[in-house]
Structure formats: structure tokens, C-alpha cells
């Protein structure tokens, strides 16, 4: 978009505006809070990854010989909890969203800077509770906490973990609240809704889900805790309660939660595909509205997790047809991104490689979603490795690809330094190969009938499991490379120009890193997003 920014000298960028631990821990600057989130979610990702290593190592052989069944059950549970609640849900919104939304809309900060800081503290406190639960013996209910196992039978730290997730939920609610108020009220003059970058649209849709879904999870967790501590019996059949009701309430949030994870990544992909094709995103309004459509329809499909749960077959019918509907807006996005490349000027820096990775893996993840939405077929593949493969294609292949792509793209803006391009491309390739080798065999395993959450398994499944574990080790290396060179680049990377990619967008019209108040003079927007055709910009780097 074209703007009138007075490029005054920017004496202090946000990273050097104050030193010392207090200047970070008491900051209300959305950019610093984004960095705090970046550090926290990276720790949780590493932790979740560590648990995954143990899971994959155990599954190398059919006999449950590496660790006890109890230990294995705790490993997959804690892998799920760390990854879902403490990495995937906050990753893109709390890091990239926090950093970029005010910049993209020309605001000095989010609407409620102190609430933003509070949300990080809430996240940390929730994380510490869950960490305590993990260290003090772990938890073995699966990240889904199905009752009555979680309320009456498990002997592990269900309550501390539940408290941790409950608290973290409020961090998510506060972030969504802040984004929503910000996008409504803090846009720069001239920045109408249909001039917003699609990243902002995606985060608006995400905020809707955070606000309307998370409280239901929160109260469900409270009821589980009441059942467990006070023997209330709300979800316990022994007292007349219905465990299937717990599943309804749990999935009312936890299915849309998948869209909390994927929608922001889709927003990233829209920005990247446009920047590296030097072209406005094809079908802008369709991409924007498809985000809202996903946010709405995403709330109507939760029962597809319950086709064999004892739910009424007629309710299953309704949930199945609605689940097929949600496939359409997702497909629309993929088609529009592909069409964006048409007549573009495409270059292949690391972020763009992640775009290709995202589209490929998300396509497979989405298409296998059709298998699972089909009632008759889901009966067979439900709770097998087929579903494990499917949601990893969406949540790892989709979300993490988008997250890493976005992190590379905006890294110069966040740190003022370039990451090493060659290493970036290499790691993108390694991650793509490792990912497919890890998870594609699991589709086959699932259709063969291997149930998930199995500590030991029949011997005929071993070949595919070995492939998967081999892939996981490649994937692990793929994640380690960026971790190393990103940290390295903060000190030794090339100093980044304000707009290394020649990209459009308000965030590129301020310094790298931006000054504390983002813009010296409030920008004024006079044209649409991604106006590459007006002033064909060229890269000043690479």
C-alpha cells in the first residue's frame, strides 16, 4: 500500500530503547512482548519435541521395550499438551501477530498494551503450572482429557495440568480481545477494512474463535476438576453423568482451536506469496472472507470427532455434512494462492520455499480431512495413525511451515539482521523431506488399523514405524538448523535494510528494527494492500 510516511531519523529502535531485565519484563511494547512470546513458545516447542523423540524411539520396535507403558503414555500426553496449548495455539498470533498487527495497521501499539503484557504473564504462569505437573510425575490422560478416565481413574497430575491449561486459556482470550479491539479501533486514517493485509484479516478471524471458543474449554476444565477433586460426577456415568457430553464441550473448543492454529499461518502465507510474486493476492476479498467463513463454520463441525463415540447417528450425519462444507473455504484459499503466482515475478528465498511447503502439505492434510469427514470411512480410521498423520499434516505441515516462513520473512524487521540464506533454504528442504518421511507412512499404518496411543504394536507394523522414526530424526535436524542460525544471526547476521524484500506493507516503511512507537508520524493510507503494480519495487537484497 502506498503511504505518506515522513521518514524522519529514528534515533532509538525498540531493541535498544532500554536495557536490562526490567525493561523487558515490564515492557508494554507489543514488539518486545512478541519477543518474550517467541522465547517462551520456543522453549515449549523444544520440550514438546523432546517428548516426541521419546515417542518415536519407543515405536522403533514393536515390543514396548524402551520405557514402561506408563512412561510412554505420559510422553505422548505431554507432547500433545506442550505442542497444542503452549506452542501451536500461541505461536503465530502471539509472536508474529503481536509484532506485526500494530505495524501493519499503522498504530503505535495494540489497543491495550498492559493487557498484552498481562497475557504473556498469564501464559507463563499457566506454562509453569503445566511444567510443574510434568516434572512432578507427569500426566497420562492424553491431551484430550477424556472422562471418566481423567476424572476418576488416572493417578497422574490431572489437576495441576488442567489448572495450567485453564490459566493459559485466558492468555489466549486476552490476546484475541486485544487484537479484535485493535483492528476495530486503531487502524491508520485511510486504512479501510478492504485495504487491510490478509494477515490482519486472518488474525481477526482467529480472534473471533479465541474469544468465543476458549471460555467453553475453560469451564469444561473447571468441571473436570470439580469431578476429580469434589467427586461431583458431572461427566461420570457412575453418578448419572455422560462422558459423551464432556466430548461435546471439549471439541466445541478444540476443533475450532485447529483453526486458531492454521488461520494465522494462512495469513502469513498470503503475505509471503504476494511479496515473493510481486503481485497482489489473487481474489483478495475471497481470501479475506474465507477466513471468516472458516471461523464460523469451524464451530459447527465438532461432532466429527465423535462418529464412533456413541453419539446419535443422526447428529453424526449433520456434523459430517457441515465438515464437508468447511473444506470449501480452505480450498478457495489454496486455489487463490496458486493463481497469485500467475504472471508474477517469483523468487525463491527461504520464506517462499516454506510457502510451497505449506501449500503442498496443507493440500494433503486437507484432502485427507475429507476421508475423516466421510462417516463410513471414519469408523475405520478413527483413533488410528491415519488421524495422527492427518492432523500433523495440518498442524505441523501447515502451521509450523507458515510460522517458520513468517519468522524468516520478518526476522530482519524483528532483529535488524538477516538470517543466512543458504542455510535457510537448506533447512526448509530438510524439514520438508523429514516431515513427509515421518508422517506419510502413518497414513498407511492407520488404514492398516494401527490404533494411536499404542505403546506396543503387532510386528507387521514395524517397517512403516521405522520409516516414520527415521523421518522424525531428519525432521529434528531440520528444526535444529534454524534454531542455531537464527540465534547466530542476531549477532553476526548481515545488517538488514528497512525493506530487504522490496515488499509492500506498512511494516516495511519503518525502520528495521522499528522505533519504539513504530512510526515517527502516523502513516496515512491512500491505496489498497499489495499495490505492487503501482510502484514495481525491486529487492534491495539477495
Amino acid at each position: 500500500m502506498t503511504t505518506h510516511v515522513h521518514a524522519g531519523s529514528t534515533p532509538k529502535h525498540y531493541l535498544i530503547d532500554g536495557y536490562g531485565i526490567r525493561s523487558w519484563l515490564l515492557t508494554t511494547d507489543h514488539k518486545r512482548i512478541a519477543i518474550l512470546y517467541l522465547a517462551s513458545v520456543t522453549v515449549m516447542f523444544a520440550l514438546g519435541g523432546l517428548f516426541a523423540i521419546f515417542v518415536r524411539l519407543e515405536l522403533l520396535t514393536p515390543a514396548g521395550d524402551l520405557m514402561q507403558a506408563e512412561t510412554y503414555n505420559k510422553m505422548f500426553t505431554m507432547h500433545g499438551i506442550a505442542m497444542v496449548f503452549f506452542f501451536l495455539i500461541p505461536a503465530v498470533p502471539a509472536v508474529l501477530g503481536n509484532f506485526l498487527i500494530p505495524l501493519m495497521i499503522g498504530a503505535k501499539d495494540l489497543a491495550f498494551p498492559r493487557i498484552n503484557l498481562l497475557s504473556w504473564y498469564v501464559f507463563v504462569v499457566g506454562g509453569l503450572f503445566s511444567l510443574y505437573a510434568m516434572i512432578a510425575g507427569g500426566i497420562d490422560t492424553g491431551w484430550t482429557f477424556y472422562t471418566p478416565y481423567s476424572t476418576a481413574w488416572s493417578n497422574t497430575n490431572v489437576v495441576p495440568t488442567a489448572v495450567g491449561i485453564f490459566i493459559t486459556g485466558f492468555s489466549s482470550i486476552l490476546t484475541g480481545l486485544n487484537f479484535m479491539a485493535t483492528i476495530h479501533k486503531m487502524r491508520a486514517p485511510g486504512l479501510t477494512w478492504f485495504r487491510l493485509p490478509l494477515f490482519v484479516w486472518a488474525h481477526y478471524a482467529t480472534s473471533i474463535i479465541m474469544i468465543l471458543g476458549t471460555p467453553v474449554l475453560a469451564i469444561t476444565i473447571v468441571l473436570v476438576a470439580l469431578d476429580r477433586i469434589g467427586k461431583f460426577g458431572i461427566f461420570d456415568p457412575a453418578a448419572g453423568g455422560d462422558p459423551v457430553l464432556f466430548q461435546h464441550l471439549f471439541w466445541f473448543y478444540s476443533h475450532p482451536a485447529v483453526y486458531i492454529m492454521i488461520l494465522p499461518s494462512m495469513g502469513v502465507i498470503s503475505e509471503l506469496v504476494s511479496a515473493f510474486s510481486r503481485k497482489r493476492v489473487f481474489g483478495y476479498s475471497f481470501v479475506a472472507f474465507s477466513s471468516l467463513a472458516i471461523a464460523l463454520i469451524g464451530f459447527l463441525v465438532w461432532g466429527h470427532h465423535m462418529f464412533v463415540s456413541g453419539q446419535s447417528v443422526y447428529a453424526s450425519l449433520v456434523f459430517s455434512v457441515l465438515s464437508f462444507l468447511v473444506a470449501i473455504p480452505s480450498a478457495v484459499k489454496v486455489f487463490n494462492w496458486t493463481a497469485t503466482l500467475h504472471k508474477g515475478r517469483i523468487s525463491f528465498e527461504t520464506p517462499m520455499l516454506y510457502v510451497f511447503g505449506f501449500i503442498g502439505l496443507f493440500t494433503i492434510g486437507g484432502l485427507t480431512g475429507l476421508f475423516l469427514a466421510s462417516l463410513g470411512l471414519d469408523v475405520h480410521v478413527h483413533d488410528t495413525y491415519f488421524i495422527v498423520a492427518h492432523f500433523h499434516y495440518i498442524m505441523v505441515g501447515g502451521v509450523i511451515m507458515g510460522y517458520l516462513g513468517g519468522l524468516h520473512f520478518w526476522w530482519p524487521k524483528m532483529t535488524g539482521r538477516m538470517y543466512p540464506e543458504w542455510w535457510g533454504r537448506l533447512s526448509a528442504l530438510v524439514i520438508f523431506i523429514g516431515f513427509n518421511l515421518t508422517f506419510f507412512p502413518q497414513f498407511v499404518l492407520g488404514y492398516l488399523g494401527m490404533p494411536r496411543r499404542y505403546h506396543a504394536y503387532p510386528e507387521e507394523f514395524q517397517v512403516l514405524n521405522v520409516m516414520s522414526t527415521a523421518g522424525a530424526s531428519i525432521l529434528g535436524v531440520g528444526y535444529l538448523i534454524p534454531l542455531v542460525y537464527m540465534i547466530w544471526s542476531m549477532r553476526y547476521g548481515k545488517v538488514a535494510p528497512d525493506n530487504p524484500w522490496g515488499a509492500k506493507g506498512l511494516e516495511w516503511e519503518t525502520g528495521s528494527p522499528p522505533p519504539t512507537h513504530n512510526f515517527e508520524k502516523p502513516p496515512e493510507v491512500v491505496s489498497e494492500a499489495y499495490a505492487y503494480h503501482e510502484h514495481p519495487a525491486e529487492a534491495r537484497h539477495g
Partner: protein
């Protein structure tokens, strides 16, 4: 207005912009609250449909008189809260303090009556859990009624306690002269919260107390 400096955040255009944005934020928060109580209402609807006898039997043990008095008390506190906001808008300090204190007092009365009711249930062994003891029609599932009764009213009471804390803070700030006709956003925000808590009770009263009274 020299004082404006410490209540105005630089990233807003002006105080009115700040007020509108705060109100929007508060409303978004209240919408999450709808869904927060909504999860319990979903349990309520499912189990009431499944076990109507148990619901009638459980509701019959509650004291309509106390429930109705509490409803009146809470609606009264909503009135005093609205009056407090009104006083703040006009920049009248003493009426503001008086109405805030009245709201706190009414909120306290509500919680006191609630505590009396809880104590009755305790004495009658109607607290869900191992000690729960109920005989008669629908006995098998009456515990579910009480589980939801305590979950719903307990969460509501917790919101009241938080609200009273916020009101106390407002009293302190009003006495310090922090609010005037130009800046009174915190009073307005706490008011929204308080009214919301009142609305929750408006639904809880008939849903819990008034089943099968004829």
C-alpha cells in the same frame, strides 16, 4: 486539564477514542463470559432433559423466598451501579462514592444470603461428593442437579467477589479524585461487568429455583 496526562495513553487519538476502545474491549470480554457460563448451561439443558424428575426434586429443596430476595437485591445493586456511572459522568464525586458503596453493600448482602443457603445445603448433605445423601423421587440423579447448582452459583458468586474487589478499588480512586466528567472510563467498565453478573443471575433464578412450584 493537567491531570489528563496520567490517564491518557499516547497511542489513542484522544480520551473519547480511548473510552470507546475500552468499552469495546470490555464488551468482548463479556461475550467470552457468555460462553463461559454457556458451557455449564449446556450441561444443565442436557441433564434437565434427561432427568426431569431429578431436576424437580432438586429444585424443590431450594428456598424460593431467599432466591427472590437475592434477585431483588442484585437488581437493586444494578440500579445503584447505574446511578454511580451516572454520577461519574456528571463529575459528582460524593454521589459517586455513595452509590459505589451502596453497590458493594448490596453485593455483600447477596453473598451473605448465598452463604446461608450454602450452609443449609451443607447441613442437609446436599453437597455433591461422597457425603451426598438424597432420598425420594429421581434420587439417582439429583446429585447432578446439585453439582450444576453449585458450579453455576459458585462461579456466579466468584464473579461477584471479583466485582466487589473492583468496586472497592473504584471507591479508593474516586476518593482520590481520579474521576471527573471527562474521564470516568473505569467506573463505566466495572459497571458493565456488574450488570453482566446481574444478568447471569436473572437467568439462574428461574432455572434453578422455580421448577415445579405449582
Amino acid at each position: 486539564m493537567a491531570r489528563t496526562r496520567d490517564v491518557f495513553w499516547h497511542h489513542f487519538q484522544d480520551l473519547e477514542h480511548q473510552r470507546e476502545t475500552s468499552a469495546l474491549g470490555m464488551w468482548i470480554f463479556l461475550i467470552t463470559e457468555i460462553l463461559f457460563f454457556g458451557g455449564m448451561f449446556a450441561c444443565y439443558v442436557v441433564y434437565r432433559t434427561a432427568y426431569p424428575e431429578a431436576w424437580l426434586a432438586g429444585s424443590a429443596t431450594l428456598d424460593v423466598k431467599l432466591g427472590a430476595i437475592n434477585t431483588a437485591v442484585l437488581i437493586g445493586s444494578s440500579l445503584t451501579m447505574a446511578m454511580a456511572v451516572h454520577a461519574a459522568q456528571l463529575g459528582k464525586r460524593m454521589p459517586l462514592v455513595v452509590f459505589l458503596v451502596l453497590t458493594i453493600v448490596l453485593g455483600g448482602i447477596f453473598l451473605g444470603i448465598k452463604a446461608v443457603e450454602y450452609e443449609h445445603k451443607w447441613e442437609e448433605n446436599l453437597i455433591p461428593g461422597p457425603a451426598f445423601d438424597f432420598h425420594g423421587q429421581g434420587a439417582g440423579n439429583v446429585q447432578l442437579f446439585f453439582a450444576l447448582y453449585f458450579a453455576l452459583t459458585g462461579m456466579h458468586a466468584l464473579h461477584m467477589v471479583i466485582g466487589i474487589g473492583l468496586l472497592g478499588n473504584l471507591v479508593r480512586q474516586s476518593l482520590a479524585g481520579r474521576f471527573d466528567a471527562a474521564y470516568n472510563t473505569p467506573v463505566e467498565m466495572v459497571g458493565l461487568y456488574w450488570h453482566f453478573v446481574d444478568i447471569v443471575w436473572i437467568f439462574l433464578f428461574p432455572l434453578l429455583y422455580l421448577l415445579g412450584r405449582h
